[in-house]
Homo-oligomer: 205 residues x 2
DNA sequence: GTATTCTTTGTACAGTCGTACGGTAAATGT
DNA sequence: ACATTTACCGTACGACTGTACAAAGAATAC
């Protein structure tokens, strides 16, 4: 009754190779034929496994997120406090060997901003994923509004510094600014008038 | 000897119209024919005025920078201190009516990161322009290293917050975080161990 | 063995792309 | 009037795009 079984592993292999290609060769003018040629397969093989080009783009973004979150995101959640989580995030994201991945990340980000309906899932998750991780890192005793505010700032600052680093390559200057920012998280004092109970956290747990 | 004179104004009109179109319709799949159709001119008219497509992209980026700097950059230089300059910059850049321009800005940014040689000028200026303005805003009495560090952080934070705002549209949350950041600039206290002479600046001049 | 389903590939087609070529109308200098 | 240069446009060509169609080889169930 059943013929040849579907080879899910083959698709996963191809997808990983396609993501590799996209990280290296860019995202804006991606097309079937050059990718297929680079992978040493026929164009139609890719079409068979991914359907349409838009479906392949969706698959690429999903796999890319998996990779990047595996390299950075999970590390953040295990940290005892926000300052350590932010430092871990910055260390991971600014590592030179991840530069190509983040160039692709920002290329997708920019394109998503101009085609929101096509990249709706990306736009929904691009902030929310990190937001959850960074709010969790602040523990339940932190005021929710403060936690959200701080998480928003950490995400924004890290991504802004990354944009600078990738554009200028001036690692010394950017790293210096990052250290300054991380220091403000580590020696946190509530601004005048704020009712923020979070002092420098003693290591919980 | 000389025939019909070159109509520079006509080119400027077309360029402005093309930039308008690009801001609205995006940058990734820009091509002669749809633009020409939207402007009500022939494809060859655009080719005649801009040469090749790459030259038109260069012209678009240049005009876009002029526009954005006219709307934000010059305001920053006239401010008496960094906090006021940063607040002015944030107010201008986060204004809803400029959202489309900044979506295009980040789309170009992302693409430039993946084609550095083609967008070399953009990458050189995208940080340096603001950096100069924000260092000037801190006055000559600020330690140069501190001024650079602070300017880097202001640029990064504003752009990171803009990325968040454009992706999520959550203006309340982002504005709250921005206020928190701007407050740290206004009530600046040197972090422990730093030799930073810059207190809250009394209005110079 | 046969039947069935998946994998891979080649070919082909309609569409869009940038732009080279050629020609006409308009504006200048002599 | 004339020559010259620009402004604008239509046509055309080769390259590339996504993908529909068809066919061959491989792996399963019976």
């Amino acid at each position: 009754m059943a013929g040849r079984p579907v080879d899910h592993q083959r698709r996963a292999e191809l997808l990983d190779a396609v993501v590799d290609y996209t990280v290296e060769h860019g995202f804006s003018d991606l097309s079937w034929r050059p990718v297929a040629a680079a992978l040493g397969v026929s164009t139609m093989t890719l079409v068979h496994h991914f359907g349409t080009k838009e479906q392949m783009l969706v698959a690429i973004l999903g796999r890319l997120r998996e990779r990047m979150f595996a390299a950075t995101g999970d590390m953040v959640g295990e940290r005892p406090d926000l300052a350590a989580a932010a430092r871990a995030a910055w260390t991971r994201t600014s590592a030179p060997e991840r530069a190509a991945e983040f160039r692709l990340f920002f290329a997708v980000y920019g394109r998503a901003l101009q085609a929101p309906e096509q990249f709706a899932e990306f736009l929904e998750r691009v902030v929310a994923d990190w937001m959850n991780a960074l709010r969790d890192a602040q523990g339940p005793e932190t005021d929710p509004a403060t936690a959200t505010r701080t998480a928003t700032l950490v995400i924004a600052t890290i991504r802004g510094l990354l944009l600078d680093l990738l554009a200028t390559g001036d690692r010394d200057r950017v790293q210096d600014a990052a250290e300054s920012f991380l220091a403000t998280l580590e020696h946190r004092t509530p601004p005048p008038g704020a009712h923020d109970r979070a002092g420098p956290p003693a290591a919980r747990r």
